[in-house]
């Protein structure tokens, strides 16, 4: 695979063994290889099967609410000096783009005859989505969640249990998302014959990065068509937040062959990349291997994984999906960090101008978008048109944001 190959001409990347250039692959115990091969075969077969596509499409439409709206945010646009279109994934069932991935994988799990799914979750969003899909498709569901996160996100633990899932608090390591991933991998090694690992983002060993991408790439396919229908042309730029990277690859992928459409991924800069307290794997990390893939990650000089930091639980992960690492190296997408403070400013701006409370994750995409408008305007010589992936809604973040703005108990805000 040469670095000049065009990504996204569907089927070109990854190569047959799951590599996006030098990224991706399979860095896993041999015990998982048979299951990954089985999953890869089932996924390829399903993607080529009209019956599977019809069932998946019907669920997305009738259950999840796809296609999500492409909304022209007039008041925000007037305020920021660009035409902003919001891809309203926040309006999906369960409140985020993640429902697309879990429905796809849950259908695939059933198709493989595996009636038990396991999932990792940080703040609980992927866990809730997994529990939802498992309830709908009658699958046993076990969710691994760091003990620290179960305490921080007690409501989501309750949601998962309401939906019939078992939540297992993880007490090893840093007791957060990366440790939940480790425990899910361990469970999978032990129970692989009857269990599918419903991975929450476009990372992990092959075929997960490409499979998850294919389940979420409808975001970009829809947005591209909606632009053509509503504007009569493609946008100047498409932006998204990047943690593991599923919502970003989901909206980017259909636009990758459109060379005039700029792609921007905004990582969680936390307190600032220079402070070391961030979750920006591409802009503040280095090449390595974590959770089955070669990619960019946060690590120390000995290759030990570093803890990530972000106000957004959904971006608080020390690595990134390998296709983003490849897109960054190839120069097809641009990645930049957005700090907690910048994200929260954008969060408040969208609340006040459009009456939409975004997820803090998606607020990173908005904040990054605001930062690129001046240069883009100058480059184009006119006001740019930008599609922002509003990947999730902010209901889950009311506690965090309310505390941040100091409005939970009526006191004056420190930041507002």
């Amino acid at each position: 695979m040469s670095a000049t190959a065009t990504a996204g001409e569907s089927g070109l990347l990854p190569d047959a063994t799951g590599h996006f250039g030098r990224y991706g692959g399979r860095f896993v115990p041999e015990a998982l290889v048979a299951a990954l091969d089985e999953l890869d075969a089932a996924y390829r077969h399903a993607m080529a099967d009209d019956a599977f596509q019809a069932e998946f499409g019907a669920l997305l439409r009738d259950y999840a609410g796809a296609p999500s709206l492409l909304y022209r945010a007039e008041r925000l646009s007037a305020r920021v000096g660009a035409q902003i279109l919001l891809k309203r994934e926040d309006l999906n069932h369960t409140g985020a783009h993640k429902v697309r991935n879990v429905l796809g994988q849950a259908l695939l799990s059933k198709r493989m005859g595996k009636n038990r799914v396991i999932a990792e979750t940080g703040a609980g969003q992927h866990g809730v989505a997994s529990a939802t899909a498992a309830a709908l498709l009658d699958l046993e569901c076990v969710v691994y969640m760091g003990e620290v996160d179960t305490e921080r996100q007690a409501l989501n633990v309750a949601r998962m249990r309401m939906l019939g899932a078992t939540v297992v608090p993880v007490t090893t390591g840093s007791r957060t998302l990366k440790d939940a991933c480790n425990e899910a991998l361990r469970d999978w090694v032990a129970n692989v014959a009857h269990t599918h690992y419903l991975l929450g983002t476009a990372s992990g060993p092959h075929p997960f990065p490409s499979m998850v991408r294919d389940f979420v790439r409808g975001i970009g396919v829809e947005a591209r068509q909606q632009c053509l229908d509503q504007l009569g042309r493609l946008p100047d730029a498409v932006t998204a937040c990047v943690g593991g990277g599923s919502n970003a690859i989901g909206i980017f992928h259909a636009f990758v062959p459109d060379a005039d459409v700029r792609l921007y991924g905004f990582e969680a800069g936390g307190e600032g990349v220079e402070t070391g307290r961030h979750a920006a794997s591409i802009t503040g990390g280095s090449l390595g291997v974590l959770h089955g893939a070669r990619t960019y990650l946060l690590q120390d000089a000995d290759g030990q994984t570093l803890d990530s930091h972000s106000i957004s639980a959904g971006l608080d992960y020390p690595a990134v999906g390998p296709e983003h690492a490849w897109l960054a190296d190839a120069g097809r997408a641009t990645y930049a960090p957005v700090t907690d403070a910048e994200a929260m400013d954008a969060f408040q701006l969208l609340c006040r101008t459009e009456g939409i409370i975004p997820a803090i994750e998606s607020s990173h995409a908005l904040a990054g978008t605001l930062k690129i408008i001046p240069a883009l305007t100058e480059e184009l010589g006119r006001e740019p048109t930008i599609v922002v992936n509003l990947s999730g809604r902010g209901d889950k973040d009311v506690q965090t944001a309310g505390t941040y703005f100091g409005i939970l108990d009526g006191r004056d805000g420190q930041h507002g």
């Binding site: 063994t17 692959g25 399979r26 860095f27 896993v28 115990p29 041999e30 015990a31 290889v33 048979a34 299951a35 090893t172 390591g173 990366k178 440790d179 480790n182 991998l185 361990r186 090694v189 032990a190 129970n191 692989v192 014959a193 090449l287 390595g288 291997v289 974590l290 959770h291 089955g292 690590q299 000089a301 000995d302 290759g303 030990q304 994984t305």
Partner: protein
């Protein structure tokens, strides 16, 4: 002594070889050297030095906890190499085990060079399969190091053949579908897996995952060339009130396991 010679020696004695695993730097750098030296003195044939890694997905909670303690104490990869050197000085063959990211970060060629210089005989790679191992194949050839890849009950015959073709020294058969850690029963899958490996190679086969006492060592040693024990040995130190008590428990279990592999009747 090379691993191959150690296996030949055990085979000539009509017994299985005993591999004991301990993380470098647990509970301290010197403590781990003392522990591994005690294991050698009690009859453990080969020491497997695990270099601690923050996210050891193939290992169970016991090894993760020991690794976390070592890392929290600030153990670096260079300390691990120092442990290997000290243990190799006892005369027992030392094989290393660690995950791929620390090696990639250190530099694959530099790691192979420094491991060989420290007296390590080879490397067990729990999350590196031959499919992704080009750099390691080259570096291990360059420095004359053994390569132990894992085979599993779920491996196809074709993958077993491909994997053992890339091994040198011995093959590691993960006998259970699961992570490391002592269990009540060892696996019924293990003898079948060892037979499948032997069908395609003359290399010795070590069986790991699940052995915790002398009787299990005898049982596994009856069908495998090597018996690999980790979690049960580490637990001796984890559960002890102080290092001296831990070393006593470690000596006792090592002695029991060493007797176990010598009780094998073939």
């Amino acid at each position: 002594m090379s691993i191959a010679v150690a296996f030949e020696k055990a085979r000539a004695e009509g017994r299985a070889l005993l591999v004991g695993c301990m993380p470098a730097g647990f509970p301290t750098v010197d403590g781990s050297i003392a522990a591994m030296t005690a294991m050698v003195e009690a009859g453990v044939d080969v020491i497997e030095v695990e270099l601690p890694y923050s996210d050891p997905v193939m290992d169970g909670p016991v090894i993760q906890k020991a690794s976390d303690i070592a890392l929290a104490n600030g153990v670096r990869l260079a300390d691990g190499l120092r442990v290997i050197e000290a243990v190799a000085a006892t005369g027992a063959p030392v094989v290393t085990m660690t995950y791929w990211n620390p090696i990639q970060k250190y530099g694959v060629d530099a790691f192979a060079r420094d491991l060989a210089a420290a007296g390590g005989t080879g490397l067990i790679t729990p999350d590196l399969i031959p499919d992704e191992a080009d750099e390691w194949l080259a570096a291990s050839d360059a420095y004359g190091l053994d390569r132990t890849f894992l085979v599993s009950p779920s491996s196809t015959d074709a993958r077993i053949a491909m994997t053992v073709a890339h091994c040198r020294g011995f093959v590691y058969a993960t006998a259970l579908m699961g992570v490391t850690g002592a269990r009540e029963q060892t696996s019924a899958d293990a003898p079948a897996l060892v037979r499948r490996v032997r069908a395609v190679t003359d290399l010795p086969v070590g069986v790991g995952l699940g052995v915790g006492n002398g009787a299990q060592a005898t049982e596994v040693g009856s069908f495998a060339d090597g018996v690999i024990v980790g979690s049960a040995l580490i637990r001796c130190l984890l559960g002890a009130p102080d290092l001296a008590a831990g070393l006593d428990a470690l000596r006792a279990l090592s002695t029991e396991l060493a007797a176990g592999v010598r009780a094998v009747r073939r």
